[in-house]
């Protein structure tokens, strides 16, 4: 079930109403049943995969807590193998097989291992990572094992964040699953407003830009440098609005039920450095990798070269997390390169910045911000292109930058794209630099209502209502 569908609107209203009507002790059951229904609206049979990992991790959690010494580690390994095994089969099997095939061909050998004709279960990487964080935290002694099987199942399946995050930690969400949430006018209203903001990003910006992007990326051989540059910028904005829009709807939706999910995006394209970008982009995944991969590898408390290697490992794994394709690996590798370069250049930049006055410093930060956006956008080309060949073709086509670009369906399409971007940048500018304005939570009710109504009618007049899939569902 997609957030941007009328089916979800009915589902949301019914579940929220029932939630507050149900007595507290039965609410877990309502939310679990609703989450199962929500998930089964995609491919019903895949609920069995979720059930498998839920049972394994639930038992593993209890055994890890009870066990001592090596046994503790053994149960953790069983849990991790089960989770990563499911990921490996459904997400990486064909990719690995493909690459073995290429290697075998190069060695004049035959690879007779068959391909699996299976669809990737929706949001698999998200709920698998959330499940893994549960057993790891119990192993580390930061979390007690959940004894209530229904509540644990809900921890993995809570419908607002089930298919595209935020990837929660047990310490934050499990206590909330047990707590009694009284009806709160404030939470409900603020939750609905955050959902509206998410719908704006998804329907007005992301889905509008996708019309242009989806025309250019599949056929790079037909487009010149100007068109490639525009489509890359459009995709950078599209993926931000698509994913952060989803997160806003998920967080808002959970808030209407009294749950507080972690912030997943903090206006990342206003970042002035690549490390700042990653502290503001998909925060729940970045912190997951930091806590469970980067720090265990030694983080930055190792020699310089090992530190750089750790960064490369994290970003390449992050690329692979997104998808089983060389495109994503290159995307991750590029971000690894950016991180290392940023570390190398940091002393130089810091020294340079001490010589600048306030005005020059502001301009310098603007240039740095623009540079970060360009680097991130360049990497997105690999992320979005169908094949590596397509990505390189697009980059090659950039040499004809300056030729008349493809403007889609003229005023209607391109004009709407520009309006969407201007609206987004304006509102986010206020959010980032003038937070005191608080249009949607202004103390004056007339201003507050007008702001919310304006947002709703902008969605209705300029939104794209074709039920476009969220990009991150495929991960």
């Amino acid at each position: 079930m997609l957030f941007n569908s009328l089916s979800f609107a009915f589902f949301f209203v019914i579940v929220t109403l029932l939630y507050y009507i149900f007595p507290h002790k039965n609410r877990w059951f309502l939310l679990l049943a609703a989450s199962c229904y929500f998930y089964m609206a995609f491919v019903p049979i895949y609920i069995l995969i979720l059930a498998f990992t839920i049972v394994i991790d639930y038992l593993a959690g209890i055994f890890i807590e009870k066990a001592k010494g090596k046994q503790k580690k053994l149960f953790l390994i069983i849990s991790l193998v089960a989770n990563i095994g499911v990921l490996a089969i459904f997400k990486y099997y064909n990719f690995i097989n493909d690459n073995i095939g290429v290697l075998a061909q190069a060695l004049n050998l035959h690879n007779n291992v068959p391909y699996l004709k299976i669809l990737l279960p929706i949001g698999l990487s998200f709920h698998t990572f959330q499940a893994m964080s549960y057993t790891i935290e119990i192993y580390r002694g930061n979390q007690k094992a959940e004894r209530h099987f229904g509540v644990y199942s809900l921890y993995v399946m809570f419908y607002p964040q089930l298919v595209a995050g935020p990837i929660e930690r047990p310490q934050n969400i499990l206590p909330q699953m047990h707590a009694k949430h009284e009806f709160s006018y404030y939470n409900l209203v603020e939750g609905l407003k955050q959902m509206a903001w998410g719908f704006f990003k998804k329907l007005v910006v992301a889905d509008r830009l996708s019309i242009y992007v989806d025309t250019v990326f599949p056929n790079p051989e037909l487009h010149n440098g100007s068109t490639v540059a525009i489509s890359a910028v459009f995709f950078a904005i599209q993926i931000y609005c698509d994913f952060s829009g989803y997160s806003d709807i998920a967080i808002g939706c959970a808030r209407t039920l009294g749950f507080e999910l972690m912030t997943n995006f903090k206006i990342p394209y206003y970042a002035k450095s690549i490390s700042e970008f990653w502290s503001k982009w998909h925060i729940s995944l970045s912190t997951w990798f930091r806590d469970y991969l980067y720090i265990p590898l030694g983080g930055n408390r190792v020699g310089k070269q090992r530190h750089y290697l750790n960064l490369f490992i994290v970003f390449i794994v992050s690329g692979l997390w997104h998808g089983a394709s060389w495109n994503f690996i290159i995307w991750g590798f590029l971000h690894g390169v950016y991180q290392v370069l940023a570390l190398i250049l940091k002393p130089l930049f810091t020294k340079f910045e001490t010589h600048l006055n306030q005005a020059a410093l502001s301009f310098w930060f603007f240039v740095k911000g623009l540079g970060v956006f360009c680097l991130v956008t360049f990497a997105w080309i690999f992320f979005r292109a169908h094949t590596i060949h397509d990505a390189f073709l697009m980059i090659k086509n950039l040499k004809s930058f300056g030729e008349k670009p493809f403007l889609g369906n003229g005023v209607n399409q391109f004009g709407h794209c520009l309006i969407a971007i201007v609206l987004l940048l304006t509102i986010e500018y206020f959010m980032a630099f003038k937070p005191q304005v608080k249009l949607f939570s202004h103390p004056n009710s007339l201003i507050r209502w007008s702001a919310v109504l304006t947002l709703l009618f902008i969605i209705l007049i300029f939104g794209v209502f074709n039920g476009g899939q969220f990009i991150y569902f495929q991960f």
Binding site: E221, G415, W449, F457, L460, F462, F465
Partner: protein
């Protein structure tokens, strides 16, 4: 259970809903006026096709129909009235919807259906683009079955008066403010000025060769739903005994005979009232880039040449 906090919420929410519907009605009314007061542009042409057109010859298709079939030449040569209902970026579901509406009003003598070679290929947009019909649903309820294809519960969304005019504001304002510089024909046809240069043609030829090579290796899924629409369109012309021409109009390069393309004549052959004409392999037009305004469309000179030749052919059948 519900407490005072909840009662306050529901009270305010009820007020909010009333305000939303009131504003929706007002904005919808404004957008409706803006939309239906247009005299030129694609919205005005759609209104003419759906609300007024009742000619002897009807042309259906996408932008290639709109720019390739000169109403003046066809009308003069055949001595019959004509309307060109071709619309930019549209596909078979749209042609069927417009055919349904116009044929309720008048049965034409001749129908020309211009089809693209990728008409039966996969493209979700062909159903999304039926949203262009939303402003007309209240006047022509027959369109509901087509608009239902856009998304689940699509017709339920029409409870909003603003929603049918979604994404129309910008172009409505544009068409009111800026006048069309292209030659105007009030019978739907729009001539394209400009000409493909030799450099552009060479570049496009190279790009197209790459594209065809890639597409030849892809497993193109045939859209069975689109085939049903194609059959529905042709069946309707057969039921009403309308002489029908299904035409792939001229293309700048010779088009390969893909499965999706070869299905077009194969299906048309089953209808005795239908003549299928393929100009995508006609050397009179292929590679003659001076007859084209861009990679996909004939310019005015090309359209005149094509329309004359088509009129001669139809005349022989009359």
């Amino acid at each position: 259970m519900l407490n005072n906090n909840a009662i306050l919420f529901f009270k305010k929410f009820a007020i909010f809903i009333v305000v939303v519907f009131a504003i929706d009605w007002l904005i919808g009314l404004g957008l409706q006026k803006l939309y239906f007061s247009l005299n030129e542009g694609q919205f005005a042409e759609t209104t003419k096709a759906l609300d007024k057109a009742a000619p002897d010859i009807l042309v259906f298709g996408s932008s290639r129909a709109q720019h390739h079939y000169s109403s003046r030449i066809l009308s003069q040569k055949l001595g019959l009235s004509i309307y060109n209902a071709g619309r930019d970026g549209q596909f078979l579901p749209y042609y069927c919807a417009v055919q349904d509406v116009i044929l309720q009003r008048k049965t034409p003598k001749i129908i020309i259906l211009d089809v693209n070679i990728w008409e039966l290929g996969p493209n979700e947009q062909k159903y999304m683009k039926l949203a262009q019909l939303l402003p007309y649903v209240s006047e022509h309820p027959v369109l509901r079955k087509y608009t239902a294809e856009i998304s689940e519960f699509e017709n339920l969304k029409l409870i909003s008066k603003t929603y049918p005019y979604n994404s129309t504001l910008l172009i409505s304002i544009y068409d009111h403010v800026f006048k069309n510089n292209e030659p105007i024909d009030d019978r739907g046809y729009t001539a394209l000025t400009g000409r493909v240069s030799e450099t552009m043609f060479k570049k496009y030829s190279a790009e197209k060769a790459l594209y065809d090579k890639k597409r030849a290796t892809q497993n193109i899924m045939i859209d069975k739903h689109a085939i049903n629409y194609y059959r529905q369109f042709l069946q309707k012309t057969k039921d009403l005994n309308i002489k029908t021409y299904v035409v792939i109009s001229p293309t700048i390069l010779k088009e390969p005979n893909t499965e999706e393309k070869s299905l077009l004549p194969a299906i048309a052959k089953k209808y005795s009232n239908v003549t299928f004409l393929d100009y995508a392999v006609d050397s009179t037009y292929n590679n003659h880039f001076k007859l084209f305004a861009d990679e996909f469309h004939l310019n005015e000179i090309g359209a005149q040449k094509f329309s004359k030749s088509l009129a001669e052919l139809i005349k022989k059948d009359l």
